[in-house]
């Protein structure tokens, strides 16, 4: 199977997509990414804004109706979900192989 051109995802993009399985606004995404990565991935505001902008252009996430008039809320798209699953599979295979050889 031909691999999608978006793969492999960077660590930050992977965590953002994972965070956006539930709708969230910018700052909440930052907090979730930090939490999901056990404090390993800390994103600054400008970097997160750029990353979200790129994911919107790639249609991996989309804006949803927000109660907050100032803050936009985003959620993963079906395509984003598919990419996330594919990258999970890729990493899963790496771990399996590593276990087999090193484990």
């Amino acid at each position: 199977m031909k691999r999608d051109k978006n793969l492999p995802l960077t660590e930050t993009v992977y965590y953002i997509l994972l965070a956006l399985l539930e709708p969230a606004h910018g700052y909440l995404i930052m907090q979730k990414v930090e939490e999901l990565s056990a404090g390993q991935v800390h994103m600054a505001a400008g970097t997160l804004y750029g990353a979200v902008d790129n994911l919107l252009k790639q249609k991996l996430i989309q804006p949803v109706q927000s109660e907050d008039s100032r803050r936009k809320v985003y959620v993963i798209t079906d395509r984003g979900r598919e990419i996330l699953r594919q990258d999970y599979g890729r990493m899963h295979h790496m771990i399996e192989m590593t276990n087999k050889i090193m484990g």
């Binding site: 700052y27 800390h42 994103m43 600054a44 400008g46 803050r71």
Partner: protein, 210 residues
């Protein structure tokens, strides 16, 4: 109300502009407003401020508000910049949190890419205008060799003495404008291209993490 100090300055490098704003704050001048060609500072007790810059324009007011809200949530005050100004100025409000508005080199470099693209498209805007002026013979290159043809006062070159000088000096600003004002266009095209090139170089340099 404290006193406001105005300063004119022009930067093509965000890193240097940030350093300058922080240095100004250490001297007791903290940025409060940005004008097309200048900066306005409030005079306050010297402080160790942390100013950071981004370069972005927005399609809608809502996008711009969302952007500012994200920075505010993260401990940055949006000090200056408008929806379409490009340059956005932030001042750190909380001591905790990151020192910078970017957490990786790619996004820190990308602002120079956007900046470069802006200068480049501005330069490109003037090229068809310049071409149109050349195509319609609006530019008289012969005026460089024979500036006399730019003077329209009847019988000017037959006058003499005070009358001649008065008429000549009176018409010179108009003649100059008629003959050479088009030079502004190629000069701008060159200047904008230089700025685009410099930003592009800074983009590559930042990306290499230097």
């Amino acid at each position: 109300m404290g006193t406001v100090m105005k300063k004119m300055k022009f930067f093509t490098n965000f890193d240097r502009e940030e350093q300058w704003l922080n240095e100004m704050a250490r001297q007791g001048n903290v940025l409060i407003r940005r004008k097309p060609f200048g900066y306005e500072f409030a005079q306050v007790p010297p402080e160790n401020a942390n100013f950071r810059m981004d370069y972005r324009t927005f399609k809608s007011r809502q996008d711009f508000e969302d952007y500012k809200a994200l920075f505010e949530d993260s401990g940055w005050t949006h000090v200056a910049g408008t929806k379409s100004s490009g340059s956005q100025y932030f001042k750190q409000t909380r001591a905790e949190g990151s020192e910078d508005i970017f957490s990786d080199v790619d996004s820190k470099a990308a602002r120079y890419k956007r900046f470069s693209d802006m200068w480049f498209s501005l330069a490109c805007c003037f090229v068809p205008l310049f071409a149109a002026l050349i195509a319609t013979d609006a530019i008289k290159l012969s005026a460089f060799l024979n500036p006399k043809e730019l003077y329209y006062t009847p019988g000017l070159w037959d006058m003499s003495g005070g009358e001649f000088w008065r008429a000549l000096l009176f018409e010179t600003p108009f003649a100059f404008f008629r003959g050479f004002s088009w030079l502004v266009i190629p000069v701008m095209i060159v200047a904008y291209s230089v700025f685009a090139y410099k930003a592009k170089k800074q983009y590559a340099k930042t990306q290499q993490g230097r």
